[in-house]
Amino acid sequence: MGGVVGGEARVTPDLSPARLILSESTPAPQPVPSEAGGAGPVHQTPVRSAPPANAVTPRMSEQARAWTLSPPEGASTYGPRIDALLERSHVFEAGLAAVMLAWLVLAVWRFRGARPVVAANGGTRRSRAWVLGLAVCVFVGVDGTLFLGSERYARDVLWNLEVPANDPRTVRLELNAHQWSWEARYAGEDGRFGTPDDVVTWNDLRVPVGVPVWVQLVSTDVVHGFSLPAFRVKLDAIPGRVNQTWFQAAREGTFEVACYQHCGTSHYRMRGLLTVLSEADYARWLHEAGRLATQSYDADDAAAHWGWEWRAP
């Protein structure tokens, strides 16, 4: 399904070996937007904290990490918030599981072959009321906190396209999923899609650090799944419709793009790279790539012009 990239410049990433080693640089503690405010716009101050290259925090060996139930290393401004929510809900759930399991083991151990104490109808009014009450308490405690946390995150981040829409620095990105690659389109310096200076890349996304990145996503063939594990981003790429999401990088580095919906034989190789650059580096790259694209623009190459007018949220 190659797809033709005609006129537009095909920019190959400069993949110096150092950039490919993903987990080499350890994130410095990320500034996390305060959760207390809740309602207000979450993102006020841009986060610009590229960690110094030699920042060393003690880190578990890679192999050991596998056994400790830890999510992939994060690089998103809002990632720590969802990680914390997930961790909190898992602590609740583990507690619940432990209590239930202990109760079961205790009951079996204590009453194995015992003389049964029998109420005629398998329980009294009171014991049934206890069961109902306890179930409601567990439900309110575990499901309730999960719901509230999820709702807050969805409102502030996941479904809050106001943030990228209102930020003048927002980078807009049109993504087209293919069997089996990610084709990305940047508006270029004129900020408009469908013009000769559109920059098109394959399996190579570049974004500036600390700036909202607004993604609109389609698919050319089958259903794909666009995920940025380090940024806690997932969204289906479905032919015939434009889906959108946004994220913001907290630090520079190179991260992976993965397809998470089975999309055919080579699904597992539908891998791309996402490079987070400093704002200056990003501007320099976009300028250069846009210049190359304009030079080799071919108005007759219909296949290359798959972009669309940016859709309002």
Binding site: Q63, P72, H90, P116, G149, A154, N176, P229, A258, H267
Partner: protein, 570 residues
Amino acid sequence: MRASWVRALWTTDHKQVARQYLWGGLGFLLLGGLLALLIRWQWAWPGQPVPGLAWALPESRGALTPPTYTVLFTLHGLVMIFFAVTPLLFGALGHFVLPLAIGARGFAFPRLSAAGFWAYAVGGALVLASFAVRLGPASAGWTSYPPLATPAFTPGVGQTLMTVAILCVGVSAFSYGLNFVVTVVRCRAPGMTWGRMPLVVWGLFYGAVLNVLFVPVLAAATLLLLLDRVAGTQFFIAGAAAVGGGGDPIVYQHLFWLFGHPEVYILILPAWGMVGDFVAYFSRKPAHGYRLTAGAMGAVTAMSGLVYAHHLFTSGLSPVLGRAFMVLTLLISLPAEVMFLNWLMTLWRGSVRLTSPMLAALATMVVFGLGGITGLALGAVATDVPLHGTMWVVGHFHLTMGAASFLAVFAGLYFWFPKMYGRALHEGLAKAHVLASAVLFVGVFGGQLAAGYAGQLRRLYDPYQYTYLKHLLPLNQWTTGCAFLLGAAQLLFVGNLVWTLWRGRAAEPNPWSVGTLEWTCATSPPAPDNYATEPVVLRGPHVLSQPDVQQQLGRDWIGQAEAAVLGGTE
């Protein structure tokens, strides 16, 4: 002569149909299990030749190639759900137990149950046949999402055969669903009120209701897909990129999951029923809060069609729908908690006997509990995003509809086998099998949960293509080790089964000392019309350890239809 083999194959005796389903289901369980082991092999030793598989894959000398691998996980899912676990729960155990447990002489429509089995058999034959066709069997995932499942992207005949096979098992599931519902509503023995039915009958009844309601939805989605595949219609083939096309693939996802989520409950409701009964039987105590438990199962059944879109949280669902389905999904955990607490309360202050069905029921409780709890985070929109499409999801649903349903099948089989075949299985082997399976299930699916939390995506031929997943290789190898041990542990069952059928001792009339109709009013195995005289039911299924019964009869149980001097204790 001819009549005899026709009679052997086309039987309208529900017990005979149950045995047919049992053998079919066990066969497909073996196939599905072997496919699973191959998948696990690939994740532990990617691309390495599988020992002893060179005959099947000569070109790669036994190593799995990406096309083979996609076939493996597609068929593993489809075979396990449609051809192994559902037929074992409903086809084998349900067909056998349901009429006996309510005191009926058979199903309301005996010929319909025979026809249902043959629809299942035809479907199964199509699946097996698809291994022989050009381009191999289906490979678009068990969900068969279009456009991948349309001929544009999966041209093989195998995919079409599988689509037809799914329609066949749909016919089968619909026919027994209809039969079960009508039989429970219309054919209960005199005195068998709704409140006196064993909980397993409630579970089968609710599951059957879901079959009747939602299998037609699966049939609709599958039919449209089939038309796209063979008749050139354009329901799901959308145009390129942002440009509108002829159809819309996401409508399939809605229809599929409108069936798919209730299917999860179809697979677990009979299991819940069995756990509720067995916990009571083997605590020698009436089930705690019988009505609450039956009501909770009913609540889950009623809500099961209203939560499905949690499978579509990342599909660009509108926030309004996302929120609604999040609330409904979390809400459905409330009745499940009520049920679970009732089981625990039944154990409490009972007289617990760790027989093989009881061990299996307790193991079902544990794995179902773990599976349910790990699913909560998937039901909330925000926490679903990092976990969506990862091995976390795989671990979660395998704990519920894999491990829990599997263990419940064996709980039922160990409980009713003496009634089905008139022979007693070896208790020690059965217990060892249940224990080993339960522990290894937790190992395998626990390992998958851990890998998923670390971000490993599902269905990757070689997860280690991704740098961020490279460190998971040892974890996956450990999980694969557990999986192979789990496979080996099944030999305990196979050995037990073969030996018992060949040489097993005759079963006692009521080995578990319970009062339900099948154990107190019928022979083992039961006569063709089940009961010599129609039982008249006087009391519920869990009348155990009642002081007055103990005083008069000198035992702690009394038959549901046993006319004792004391009359009808509820």
